[in-house]
Every structure is written in structure tokens, then in C-alpha cells.
């Protein structure tokens, strides 16, 4: 059974640990006060057929799952389809979810599996279909730093930069792109990525190392 097939199971193994939500730095956080009801409670209600409870879970995790699928595919239409598939799959599998892992870990695993399988079935070289850059990027210190005099980015437009970045990401293998998206873009710690993809922490670190080397090669013109 290869790794992707192994990840296909809807129910996580008994050795999975509970995972809380993480902040941008990857640290565990308390539940947001706005979320008065815990995930566990919402999952329980959803399992009993409470549709508004599941709707709250969708509201809570839609952005994260879309972000994962979008950065994995660089295609917003595919990302929207995949996000829908992930939540529908989660709803169908919810009766089998016993709460041994957190809902967060569980749905992330479904999302990673769905995305990898989706790209296996479809043409891997799908055209890019990108979301617009938020105009707030121009207020970002990093953007200023990279576009000032002497920087390789000073003569490149935002749209060109966006295309270059996404092409570089899409040239990574699925496994390498997964860890880059989850760690470097979504701030998820190595340990949690390991639980989601069913690998050891060492494997995750190794994949991250090679993925970054490849990205540096792809983006040589901006980095050197």
C-alpha cells in the first residue's frame, strides 16, 4: 500500500493524538472566544443530524481547507471543487469519526488525500488560475524590502512574481509541495504535519529541506 492509499482511510488510527488549532507561529492556541462551541461538540451534534452544527464547522474550516487546496493546485476552480469534495466527504464519513484525533487533523488528512488523488486522476499540468493579490501586500514590509533598489524583484510586476512563485510550487512533487504549503505557508508544526500525512517527523523535515532546495533553484533569479 503506497502512502497515498494509506492516507485514504476515513478514520484515523488509534494512535492519533488530539490536535488543537494553531496560531500563525504553529503554537497551540486556546479556542477563539468567538467560537463558543468546541469542535468536539459541533462534531457530536453533526453526528446526530444537526445541520447548523455542521454548517458552523464548514464556516470555521473553509478558509484553511481552501488555502491548502489552492496552494496545492494553483488553480482556484480546482481548489473550490476540492474544498466542496472535502466537506461532503467529511460529512459522509462523520458517523465513523470517533474523535480519536481532532476534527482539524482529520479533515486536513481528507483534504490532503483528496488533493493528491485529484491531481493523479487529472492532468497534472493544469493551467494556473490564480486568486488576486490583496492590495495590502503593498503595505507589507517584506514586499517593500524585496522591491526596493538593488532587489531582483524591483523590475518585476506583481503578477509576474505570482506566476513565477506558483510555477515553482507546481514543479515540486505532491509530497514536497504538501509539506511546504502546510509548514511554510500555513504555519503548521512538523509534528502535526507528520500526523496528517502519516509519516515521521524526520521524513517531514527531510522533505521540507529538499523542497526548499528545489524552490531556491527554481527561484534563483530572485534569491541570488
Amino acid at each position: 500500500m503506497d502512502e497515498v492509499d494509506k492516507l485514504d482511510s476515513d478514520e484515523l488510527g488509534a494512535d492519533e493524538l488530539d490536535v488543537e488549532r494553531f496560531d500563525a507561529e504553529g503554537h497551540e492556541t486556546e479556542l477563539d472566544p468567538a467560537f463558543e462551541i468546541s469542535d468536539e461538540e459541533l462534531v457530536l451534534r453533526s453526528q446526530q443530524g444537526d445541520m447548523p452544527a455542521f454548517e458552523q464547522l464548514v464556516e470555521r474550516y473553509h478558509g484553511k481547507i481552501y488555502g491548502l487546496t489552492y496552494n496545492m493546485t494553483s488553480n482556484r476552480e480546482d481548489a473550490e471543487d476540492l474544498t466542496q469534495e472535502v466537506f461532503v466527504k467529511a460529512y459522509e464519513a462523520l458517523p465513523r469519526f470517533k474523535g480519536k484525533a481532532s476534527f482539524y487533523t482529520w479533515i486536513y488528512r481528507i483534504a490532503v488525500n483528496k488533493t493528491i488523488n485529484y491531481r493523479k486522476k487529472r492532468n497534472r499540468k493544469r493551467a494556473l488560475s490564480l486568486d488576486q493579490f490583496d492590495q495590502e501586500i503593498k503595505l507589507d514590509d517584506v514586499y517593500h524590502e524585496l522591491t526596493t533598489k538593488g532587489s531582483p524583484l524591483r523590475n518585476i510586476s506583481l503578477s509576474e512574481l505570482q506566476i513565477k512563485l506558483n510555477e515553482a510550487m507546481m514543479n515540486l512533487s505532491e509530497k514536497h509541495r504538501t509539506v511546504v504549503v502546510m509548514h511554510d505557508m500555513q504555519g503548521i508544526p512538523h509534528e502535526e504535519i507528520a500526523k496528517v500525512v502519516g509519516s515521521s517527523v524526520g521524513t517531514i523535515r527531510s522533505r521540507l529541506f529538499y523542497a526548499r532546495r528545489q524552490l531556491q533553484t527554481e527561484l534563483m533569479e530572485f534569491i541570488k
Binding site: M51, T83, D134, L161, R212
Partner: protein
């Protein structure tokens, strides 16, 4: 999105990693269109309800067949207004025609065939109401003007 100037441990690999981290950080500014996200959530819930519900209610059937009505309620409301205005227009045309043509209405007959029979005290005779020669109770199923009689007039001796 990552916190500003935090690259999740990318400084482990040196300056190149930091620069790469900054580039990936910029990618975090790619934001999806808000209306598409709303539609996406609505589509998810619609599909989930289709998965769930076996007892189809009118609301869910409508949601299944005209999802845009629910995804963009303003269009649905606009359509309802147009339909309402159209019906009003058609209705006003009927009234102006003065009951001609295909206008149809229910009205009481001049002579009510179900009027009660009663005996007058003076003659001790049953008095029948005066009915027209051809009393049309029901329209002919053949569609012609032919009348169907459901009763028989009884001539009484006076």
C-alpha cells in the same frame, strides 16, 4: 497567513532560506474572492443536505433545481417581482375585456334550480319554480354548445 517577518523556522538553512521564506510569505497575500467563497460554502451545504435528506421538502427541491435563487437571493427576489408584475398585467387585461372571449367566472343562475319546493295552502298543489326550456347544468364534455339535462320537467295539471 503567517505572521509578518516570521518564516516558521526557515532561518535554519541560512540567508537563502530566509529569502525564500519572504517570497512564500508574499504568496500568503493571494486572497480568494469573497463572493466565490460564500457561494462555495452554500454549495457545500446544499450538497450535504442532498446527501442527508430523503424526505424532500419543497424548499430543498427548489434549492436543488434553482440553486442560484438561494445563492443570489437578490436575483430570486427580482424574478419574483417580475413574475408578480406579469401576473398583474395579465389579470388587468382580463378585466378590461369585460368578460368577453375566454374570460370565465362563476355566477349564480337567475333561476336557482335547487329552490325548495313548497305547497301552497290555497291549491294544495306543489308549486315548481319556472325554469327555462333549456337549462344548462354542466358544460358538454364534447365541447359543443349542447346542453346536458339532468332532470325532467313534470307538467302538472292545473
Amino acid at each position: 497567513m503567517m505572521e509578518k517577518n516570521d518564516y516558521s523556522g526557515m532561518d535554519e538553512g541560512g540567508a537563502d532560506d530566509v529569502l525564500l521564506g519572504k517570497l512564500l510569505h508574499l504568496k500568503g497575500y493571494e486572497v480568494p474572492d469573497a463572493s466565490r467563497q460564500i457561494r462555495s460554502k452554500q454549495n457545500i451545504m446544499r450538497r450535504v443536505r442532498q446527501t442527508e435528506r430523503k424526505d424532500w421538502s419543497l424548499e430543498h427541491l427548489l434549492e436543488l433545481h434553482i440553486p442560484w435563487f438561494f445563492a443570489e437571493p437578490r436575483y430570486g427576489i427580482a424574478l419574483l417581482l417580475v413574475v408578480f408584475a406579469g401576473l398583474q398585467f395579465l389579470g388587468s387585461g382580463k378585466v378590461k375585456s369585460g368578460g368577453q372571449g375566454e374570460a370565465y367566472a362563476t355566477y349564480p343562475t337567475q333561476v336557482n334550480p335547487s329552490v325548495s319546493l313548497y305547497a301552497t295552502a290555497s291549491t294544495n298543489q306543489v308549486s315548481y319554480p319556472e325554469l327555462p326550456e333549456e337549462l344548462k347544468f354542466f358544460p358538454s364534455p364534447a365541447g359543443s354548445g349542447q346542453a346536458i339535462f339532468v332532470g325532467q320537467r313534470i307538467e302538472t295539471e292545473k
